[in-house]
Each structure stands twice: as C-alpha cells, then as structure tokens.
C-alpha cells in the first residue's frame, strides 16, 4: 500500500454535467502530447456533406442553444453515423448531423465541434495539468444524465437508458447504504433545496440522513467533519437563494454558464485545500456525467454486459445489453499524493491503457472503505479502480495550485 493510500481518509466525487473530454480538454494535447485530445484536423460531415472541423471557439454560454440531443437514439447517431451500427466500431461521425436535427441550421450545427481554447478554462485546465488526468474515462451509457448518474451511485442503472424514474433491483444497494451498513460515513451534498439531487425516488425519499447541502459541505471541510465518502452535485438552475441573492447554475449543462462551473469546481477544491489535515487525507475526483451530445473523437469501447436488457421503446428499437460505454468525459483525480502532471493512458495505448467509467466510483469506494462485497453489478465488479494513482510521496504545497475567486 502506498503512503498516499495509507493516509487516505476521505474521497470526494464532484460530478458536473454534459460536456465531452475533447470539448473541455481537447486543446491540451497541443501542450502535452500524452493527452489524447484534438489534433485540430478532426471533422464530421454536415448535412450538405461538407466537413465541419473542430475549432477552439467554444464560448461560456449562448452557443449550444438549443441543448444538443443526448437521448439514447441521438447518441447512437452521433456514434455510428455512416456505419451499419453495432457491433461495428463507432465512427464518431454523426455529431454535427445529430445537432442539425435540433433546428435544421447547418451553420449552427458546426458549433457541436467547438472546444475551449487553451487557458480559457483556468480551473479545469490547471487541475488537469497539475494532477492526474484520465485519457479513458467514459460515461457508463451512451445516453442522458439520470441513468449515467445511477452508475455512480449504484454501479448499474437497473436496465434504464433514459431520464425516467428507475427502481432499485435487489440485491444492488447504493454506495451510501453500503457504507452506512459497514459502519462508515457517506453523504450526498446537493446544492440547495431549490436544486436538489437528481436521485429523487430512490435516495432522497425516505433517506434524509444521507443528504446535506453545498453550504454544509463547505462547513464540514472547514471543521474537519467530512464523511469518509462525499458525492457533490452542482447547482442545476438559476434561482433566488435562501437569502434572496442570485444563485447561478453551476452544472455547466448547456446553456448554463461554463464559467460558473469553473468557480464551483474551484470552490470545492479550495474548501479541501484550505484545511491542511483534510488536504493531506483526501482524494477529489472531478468528472462529468455524460457528453451532452458534444463531439469527442475517441470511440467508446465495448464492456462486459450488465445483466440487463434495455427496453426497445427506450432505445428507439436498437437492442442494447449495456455492453458498450458512452462517450468519453473529463475526469481528474486531485490529491497532493498524485504525481504532478500524471496522464492515465486510455484506449489509445493498447499496452498500458486503462478504461474507466462511472461504475469505477462505487467500485473504488467499496474496495477502499468496505473491502469484499459481493452484491454488486457485473459492470461494477469489472470496473477499474483509481486509488492506485496515489503515490508514496506527498507534494509540497508550493507545488499545488490555489484558486483566487473574483
């Protein structure tokens, strides 16, 4: 066991919304060729059969309006356009045409290929280049939010590929229930009552003890009262706060302001970093639930089936056995015990590449805090865990960035 793992007392997961790896981090390849981002030559055909090229022109807001389609059928088009469909390899050629479907505007459809220029996202870009960046972290399902977030909470979505209510199928319990039953502590911190968790039916109802708010997260960091495991949700809506002030959505879901999400990520990082004992004993994973219909160039790999079969009504008639992953998303592991500028290779490296997905979250938490635990989904049992990235050497604070919020 590494000294970093030996010292680890807390794991915090922050899951943002609907942005692909290339959209947020693709520009970093120009600065570090180990990062599997964009060369600048990637294209998708538009509906006039002209190539729409990637471009570093992503803006914080008002660009991806309307919201790109990321339902299961739309994502199949994004992945398999120009192919006979699964089991053929994804072409990653249908993002522009899928976005065109939203409002039949050819010029606007090209914006789905835009990515953030280097330095435009000071928080995410700094963290990606300072800590451990995953080249191969994928959404669990080629579909929308709720089913993907379910994989982070349960290691499965119980056969769902959409945003509908789902019901827990025994024996798979949430990571929070597992932790509490094992005598550990766990909390899901949602932003505030006006922007509560996406986990309404199965968690929020009847289980108030596992929930707290973002303000409580900040207080718990300050007082050293953070539980063993914390899952943090951003603010999903623009709404008045409890004190009457403006609470800006920080989830980065189009068309919410990406810069507000940058501030939110920095505030989570700062809350941990500013308590030295907590900083030295905490690993923070920052990731995104799914790609939100936005372009990424890496074909999602196959994975072992999850033991469920999706309803054809939900998939648009395409059989789906949860045997392939969704589109790649940003994922960064932050800890002073992570070697500076670690890049975890993904599918681009056939020898050393590792593939992660959201089932890696409960798999990692269970492995570290609980140990042997059999009643887990096939996908979770097969998922890679990530705490081996903690090393024997703790970096000095002078080597760890801080963020100053305006």
């Amino acid at each position: 066991m590494s000294a970093g793992l030996d010292n680890l007392k807390h794991v915090v997961v922050l899951m943002m919304e609907n942005r692909s790896f290339d959209h947020m981090l693709g520009a970093l390849r120009a600065e570090d060729p180990r990062i599997n981002g964009l060369t600048g030559d990637e294209t998708n055909p538009d509906t006039d059969n002209e190539p729409a090229k990637v471009a570093p022109q992503a803006e914080f807001q008002s660009q991806l309006d309307p919201d790109p389609d990321h339902s299961f059928p739309a994502v199949q088009k994004q992945l398999f356009f120009g192919t006979p469909g699964p089991p053929a390899a994804p072409s990653m050629q249908g993002f522009v045409q899928s976005y065109w479907d939203k409002q039949h505007d050819v010029a606007h459809s090209h914006k789905i290929m835009y990515y953030f220029a280097p330095g435009k996202l000071p928080v995410l870009h700094t963290l990606a280049q300072s800590y451990a960046l995953f080249n191969g972290w994928f959404a669990s399902i080629p579909g929308p939010t709720v089913c993907n977030r379910a994989f982070a909470h349960y290691g499965t979505s119980f056969g769902k590929v959409d945003l509908d209510i789902f019901y827990v199928v025994e024996p798979f319990k949430s990571i929070y229930e597992r932790m509490l039953a094992a005598g550990r502590t766990a909390k899901l911190y949602y932003f505030d009552p006006s922007s509560s968790t996406q986990e309404v039916v199965n968690l929020l109802k009847d289980q108030p003890q596992i929930f707290a708010t973002y303000q409580q997260f900040l207080d718990d960091c300050k007082s050293g009262a953070l539980p063993d495991y914390s899952f943090v949700e951003p603010n999903y809506s623009d709404h008045p706060g409890e004190d009457g002030g403006e609470q800006l959505a920080s989830d980065q879901h189009p068309d919410h302001d990406v810069q507000a999400g940058e501030v939110f990520i920095a505030s989570i990082y700062n809350a941990i970093h500013q308590n030295q004992d907590l900083w030295e004993s905490t690993a923070l994973l920052i990731t995104y639930d799914e790609h939100g219909g936005i372009y990424d160039h890496v074909p999602p790999p196959a994975c072992i089936p999850d033991g469920f079969q999706a309803s054809l009504a939900d998939t648009g008639g395409m059989p789906f056995a949860f045997d392939r992953l969704g589109v790649r998303v940003p994922a960064i592991l932050v800890s002073p015990w992570v070697a500076k500028a670690t890049v975890v290779p993904g599918p681009e490296d056939p020898t050393n590449g590792r593939v992660f997905e959201h089932a890696s979250i409960p798999a990692t938490i269970t492995q570290h805090f609980i140990g042997t635990y059999d009643n887990r989904s096939p996908r979770e049992k097969a998922a890679q865990t990530f705490l081996d990235l903690l090393t024997d050497e703790m970096r000095p604070d002078s080597d760890c960035p801080g963020f100053e919020l305006d």
Binding site: Q61, L163, S195, D238, H239, A260, D399, C400
Partner: protein, 80 residues
C-alpha cells in the same frame, strides 16, 4: 519558502443569471420536475400538483417547485 501558484478565477457575466429561461430548453430540469410530480402523486393523491408545466414555465418556477418538494421529502420519515 516557495508560495503555491495562485490562479485567478474570473466571475461569470452578470447577464448569465436567467431564471426566466423557459423550462422546455432544459430537458434535465424538465425531467426532474416530472419525477417530483410522480413522487408528489404518491404523497398527496387527491391534491392538485404543486406546479403546472406549460410553455410559459420557467427555470425559476421549476426551482421553486423543487424546493417545495425537497423540503417535503426531507421531512420523511422522522418529522411527519
């Protein structure tokens, strides 16, 4: 002693705050409201729902309803 590098994080533009943004533009929030409506039916089967969703419903309206429902659910099971 060397100081940690400090990166300045700019504030979002004031115009970013748009609680009057139509709810239909955000499928995630729409579905969250829909799921709360399902839960509300099980809690108060004979009462009218706490929100009526139509083309004029805004993100701010949705947040207000979600607040109401979150507070109701959090009282369960100990406080009711």
């Amino acid at each position: 002693m060397a100081q940690p590098p400090v990166i300045r994080v700019p504030k979002p533009a004031h115009t970013s705050y748009q609680p009057d943004r139509p709810l239909w533009k955000n499928t995630l929030l729409q579905n969250q409201v829909r799921r709360f409506l399902e839960v509300e039916k099980t809690l108060s089967p004979n009462q009218p729902p706490g929100i009526s969703v139509d083309e004029g419903t805004t993100e701010g309206d949705a947040a207000k309803y979600i607040r109401l429902m979150t507070k109701r659910l959090h009282r369960l099971p100990g406080e009711e």
